[in-house]
């Protein structure tokens, strides 16, 4: 794990914009949160739809190794307590808040246009190699799919899942790590399997999760 100085050095290409975003966007009180899109019945039906294919394999070892979406410690000024997860959908980053104005940052894939949301939730459940139930629309397109797939390497849910509140949304792995940094999901937040495996033990049930969807600065 790089120390904070080397991270800040690596952080430089992203520029002050990210620091500014951290200061302006993440330090505001939670009471100011207002979902831009709340989970709707329609969203529930199509969660895990577009871009989620079972016909791919990604093991627990797959991580994002370079570039801004690689897991790294960063400078992160926030009023949130250490241990809190802050997700910024516009930047496609998940921050695990650490002491001393630092955070462990992971690159993520987020909901596609119209399926991004913000809010305050808690991790209500965790699962290793979670099961997957393709939505009916996906069965229509790929009728050869099983209607239920027990967890495993070919499963689009990936190696780990953390369930967010009572919503249908999750922080989970993926069998398509190339989609990290993209807006392709139906509202879930996906990490490369190796990264979600790294995050999983750091996040106990009950962890506060702040999802922000702010305009790019």
């Amino acid at each position: 794990m790089p120390d904070v100085l080397s991270v800040i050095d690596r952080f430089r290409p992203a520029g002050a914009a990210l620091v500014l975003a951290a200061v302006l966007g993440f330090a505001s009180p939670l009471a100011a949160l207002s979902p831009t899109r709340v989970p709707s019945p329609k969203a529930e039906r199509i969660t895990m739809d577009v871009g989620d294919e079972p016909g791919r394999i990604s093991t627990e070892e797959v991580t994002i190794k370079s570039g801004p979406f690689a897991r790294q410690m960063v400078f992160f000024r926030s009023n949130e307590a250490p241990g809190t997860i802050v997700i910024h959908t516009s930047e496609k980053f998940l921050y695990l808040v650490m002491p001393n104005n630092r955070a462990l940052r992971y690159g993520i894939g987020v909901g596609r246009e119209g399926f991004q949301w913000s809010g305050l939730v808690k991790v209500t459940r965790k699962a290793e190699w979670p099961d997957w139930t393709p939505p009916p629309e996906m069965i229509t397109r790929q009728p050869y799919l099983p209607r239920f797939m027990a967890g495993g390497p070919g499963n689009p849910m990936g190696a780990r899942a953390m369930y967010l509140g009572s919503t249908v949304y999750r922080i989970h792995g993926t069998n398509q790590p190339e989609t990290i940094g993209q807006a392709i999901s139906s509202g879930c937040f996906r990490l490369a399997n190796g990264d979600v495996v790294d995050l999983y033990p750091r996040v106990p049930v009950g962890t506060k999760v702040v999802i922000r969807h702010a305009a790019q600065i």
């Binding site: 397109r141 099983p146 209607r147 239920f148 495993g152 390497p153």
Partner: protein, 163 residues
């Protein structure tokens, strides 16, 4: 997939002439792990075909990879009848089903290999890469897996429970 599918169809059409499917259930598929009795060998004696009528119907379909997940996967398959996998009889006594990664339906046949294993697939020798191996079959439940190791790893073992 289209070209692959077309190739599959051509392959089936070329081979279907040698596939002889016995008619009727003839007491098949009534006991778990008791596969249908074979019909006469096909020309050349390479393999035998088996009546496939017992596959026709609506099935709850689910898959697993780890044996510890089998029981609950079977339960999940049983609960999937609202979105059932429908198997219809094919034009030449096979059944209309999908192969891996292809949304088109093809006529597939049950085949028995010399070592006693049963496969479901195109009119090719049993154990062909595009076949499914039939692990268990009864009137109400079937267990299959793809012969292709890659497809088997990705999709796992399929459990069909009759609706």
């Amino acid at each position: 997939m289209a070209s692959k599918g077309g190739g599959m169809m051509a392959r089936y059409a070329a081979g279907v002439a040698v596939v002889v499917l016995a008619g009727g259930l003839a007491g098949c598929m009534t006991e778990k792990a008791s596969l249908p009795s074979s019909s006469s060998p096909v020309a050349g004696g390479a393999y035998q075909t088996i009546p496939s009528d017992g596959l026709v119907g609506r099935w709850g379909l689910a898959s697993y990879r780890d044996e510890k997940d089998r029981a609950r996967t079977t339960a999940m398959a049983r609960s999937q009848c609202r979105n059932a996998y429908v198997i219809k009889k094919g034009p030449t006594d096979g059944v209309m089903m999908h192969v891996a990664d292809d949304p088109k339906l093809y006529e597939l046949a049950l085949k028995r290999s010399g070592d006693g294993k049963t496969y479901l697939g195109f009119a090719a020798p049993p154990g062909d890469r595009q076949d499914r191996e039939v692990l268990e079959m009864s009137s109400n439940e079937m267990t299959m897996r793809f012969v292709d190791p890659d497809a088997n790893t990705r999709y796992g073992t399929f459990i069909y429970v009759r609706c």
